[in-house]
Point group: C2
Chain length 545, copies 2
């Protein structure tokens, strides 16, 4: 027997309709590619998203067609979020930081019909346009006055395109499971794979972002969205912002410390979201240039995701700016939020040290994401805070396959997705990632965390970067090899120095069997360490006898 409730689909168009009806004056503030700050409201975004939707129809875009973007965080990008998905097409946000060959691969793999781009990417588009086979035209996201001169076939001006369209549009109603947007992983191995989000998953994820124990987005917040709109839909902030009417501050291409600091100050930012790299720049700027950040800013919370929030960063935000770091963990395949490190009532009286011990954990599972730990054979392991296992996830905003079924089946027999991480979960539900499954060192039937070893090593003065890989060992199966890039001003540290330092940091049986020094680590286009390449480099390495 079915309930007798209205059968209303959860559609992305309903988010912007809600915002325009109940938060018409809430602002979207963008630093533009052209330079100046641009201000508009949710009512404006809705009106122009409707023009986008009308333009899509004029261009012959049909429901399910992919429409690409190569763009920074800004109001026009947000208009595309609602206009393209709202009319039933799929917004494919492309990461401009990928290698050009990857961008070409992705656009062709997604069969993008049109590509919208910020004019800072004009040269890139000029170069790639001839090789993007499915693209019918390229739209520069600017007005007539700022149009680039470039050799791009079918180049269209965004403001011209939407300017001639009506400002009214009847959003179609369709199945909430319809595809809404597409984002490719910047995987460290093989070709990028596409994650295809649905309207349902996007709206449910927005509910989470607006929940107190989620990201706590709300009408009273001014949120600086540093996480890029080409990266898992900026953690869903455009959708969540519309759901609750939060003021959104979009930094455009200017990610330097000074630009971000000024936005936080001038726009009364209370909540900021981004990856550790940009926050490092912000903190450095503030330390060097700001006299009294605590007084100058109203920043209360900083959400850090993308990679682990270092303990020192959690502390720096608190002492320097009075802002609490909310550590979050997720993946492109998870829309992205999986866990959030909020505190429990019992932690209210914890010391800063105790609190930081907690804040570096990835956090507790949220409703909508089931977590389990398993051994190699898929048997469940206990959540006791010490047993490490393969971390697997299940829920309505988690992928069940990649686009075009790349990689085939990705779920286990209970329909959980394997994150590829090794983690522990404690009795309060806090999850802590100890390693990537493919990086963990299997030594004598036990696991050694490469991440923990690396973190210990970079704590040593003189170490710029550290990586640990497992090397085959006749007796123990594998043993750790520590690879180090020295800081330029410390050319003399050697193996014995490092091992001596580590002795006080890690268990004795974790100590690397050897330490080698190299000039530079291999990285991906998005700055991730490529352990695959390291393993290739050390393919023939053998431990000293």
């Amino acid at each position: 027997m079915f309930g007798l409730m209205q059968d209303r689909p959860l559609l992305i168009s309903s988010l912007i309709e809600h915002a325009a009806a109940f938060h018409p004056h809430a602002e979207i503030v963008s630093r533009t590619v052209e330079g100046p700050i641009h201000r508009c409201t949710y009512a404006d975004i809705r009106r122009r998203a409707m023009q986008v939707a009308n333009a899509m129809q004029t261009l012959g875009v049909r429901p399910g067609d992919r429409v690409g973007t190569l763009a920074w965080n800004g109001y026009r990008h947000m208009e595309l979020y609602f206009g393209v998905s709202g009319m039933g097409a799929v917004l494919h946000t492309i990461n401009p930081r990928l290698f050009p060959e990857q961008i070409e691969y992705i656009a062709n793999h997604a069969e993008d019909q049109y590509i919208f781009f910020d004019v800072s990417f004009t040269a890139l588009i000029e170069k790639l346009a001839p090789r993007m086979k499915s693209v019918k035209a390229f739209i520069a996201m600017t007005d007539r006055a700022n149009m680039p001169t470039a050799d791009i076939p079918g180049l269209i001006c965004y403001e011209d395109l939407i300017g001639r369209e009506p400002v009214e549009y009847a959003w179609p109603e369709f199945d909430e499971r319809a595809a809404s947007s597409l984002c490719y992983t910047s995987g460290t191995t093989g070709n990028p794979k596409g994650v295809l989000y649905s309207h349902r998953s996007s709206v449910l994820h927005a509910f989470l972002a607006c929940s107190v124990d989620g990201l706590g987005l709300a009408a009273a917040e001014s949120a600086l969205v540093v996480v890029p709109m080409f990266h898992v839909n900026a953690w869903g902030m455009p959708y969540a912002g519309a759901m609750c009417g939060a003021k959104l501050v979009l930094p455009g291409p200017a990610m330097d410390g000074k630009s971000l600091y000024e936005l936080i100050r001038d726009e009364g930012v209370t909540l900021a979201l981004g990856v550790p790299t940009v926050w490092q720049m912000l903190l450095q700027h503030a330390e060097r240039n700001a006299t009294d950040p605590k007084r100058e800013l109203v920043l209360r919370r900083v959400v850090i995701g993308g990679s682990s929030a270092p303990r020192s960063m959690c502390e720096a935000f608190e002492t320097l700016m009075g802002a609490f770091v909310v550590h979050a963990w997720g993946m492109t395949e998870m829309s992205p939020i999986g866990t959030i490190c909020n505190l429990l009532p019992k932690h209210k009286r914890a010391s800063l040290e105790q609190r930081l011990d907690l804040q570096v954990k990835q956090g507790r599972g949220v409703y909508g994401v089931e977590l389990k730990l398993t051994d190699e054979d898929g048997n469940r392991l206990p959540h006791d805070g010490t047993t490490a296992g393969h971390l697997k996830v299940r829920g309505p905003w988690i992928a069940n396959a990649y686009f075009h079924d790349d990689g085939g089946s990705i779920l286990d027999d209970e329909c959980f997705f394997d994150t590829g991480d090794i983690a522990t979960i404690d009795l309060d539900g806090y999850m802590h990632i100890t390693d990537r499954a493919k990086d963990v060192i299997k030594s004598g039937g036990e696991w050694i965390s490469s991440i923990d070893l690396e973190n210990a090593a970079v704590g040593m003065p003189g170490v710029a970067e550290a990586a640990v890989i497992g090397i085959a060992h006749p007796k123990w199966q594998e043993r750790p090899l520590l690879i180090i890039v020295r800081k330029p001003d410390c050319p003399l540290i050697n193996k014995d120095d490092v091992l001596q330092y580590l002795e006080s940091q890690v268990a004795r049986w974790w100590l690397p069997d050897d330490v080698v020094f190299i000039e530079e680590m291999p990285h991906t286009a998005t700055g991730k360490l490529q352990k695959m390449a390291l393993r290739q480099m050390f393919r023939d390495y053998r431990f000293p006898a």
Copy 2:
């Protein structure tokens, strides 16, 4: 094209699973019918809900079958919320304050298979049992030691029933649109009508309750749930509590001011939810008996719904207890939340007077509830803060029909449900109910709000209760008649006194054409004023010439 997201249904069982996994130690504190305070955790509720589910199967209850309850707010009732709905049956919560004939009607109309009851309702069950035709057995929600002696056929002891069942149960997976629970309106006219909630609507509504701009329920809150679990699922608090791991405090049958005050104090209650009547008792107790409520309590917010929050009550909670009143509006047909009166950033600097002006409004629409105002013919009216129209609502937790299709089609051609209220919506989205559609007085093509007139009249010293009804008028179509119950100590106030008082309160053309005094107002079983009965009383009334 569908998105490639996991097809996980939103089921009530997933809420308690989440709570037990990530908030196992969060408490459910209940004042029992037997007297003592009972403490348990979400992990306990899950374990016993699984025993309930197993017991349902033992009793032969099938998916879709209705299982009734006549019970106060307590942990056993909460176990039934998850156990009965979780196994696929429909939890039918019956309001014990209805007239016995209505309870009999409801149980028969719902075809309840079993009825669980708190022992305080033993006499009622004893009386009604022979007339509840579909009920196979009655289960007293207590242990063996407290079992009542009563002439009830097939009487079962709750603890015996579930005690012999296994504590493990595999929740079935099914369509999220399946019926989960049933609640009858206590309508002022005709027979009560059943609203049949679904798993989907219950989970989506819980997301709203956990959002910052919703009810803001969170793991850090200790929530006193005074709103009964037989009244629209206690505004969804059992579900929302499990979703976020909030501590829940359930007051059982003790609704007096002293009992509630002590619970708030002893359980560190930060958030309390209920109707104005109980809060009046709480405030009176605190005023008379507590020396320093602000210091003694950590109450931060009081959610008031069910009927309008009086301005004086908003002010009293703030000055006496330092608690902010969140005015909310909804209906049984709306699960129930429709609007919530949270403040906007721009109201931060408002004076208390200005803020109270806002707080008495019913609040802004939340994502998930679309509001529209229409004229008599269904044409949309502007949201300008002054135009009053019929308030209609649409969304995934709003009814599309009543159980057994009572009353037939209840949606308009855009699939909106007519709330029966007359309201305005201002430019910031704040909705304010001015009247019930059937009570509004149509005078010369304009509307006079009976509620506003009544509120003005009860502001006069000496007036205990006031009601306004429309009386046919040859020239103006209708004109207001004001009916007053005097306070016992003011037997002498007369028509002229009242009219003179009102002259400074309302527009001249709103002044009632006559004022009459009666001894007592007619009320429903749940304390609502019965205007139907008043109209009947004054059927033959004519205005003085």
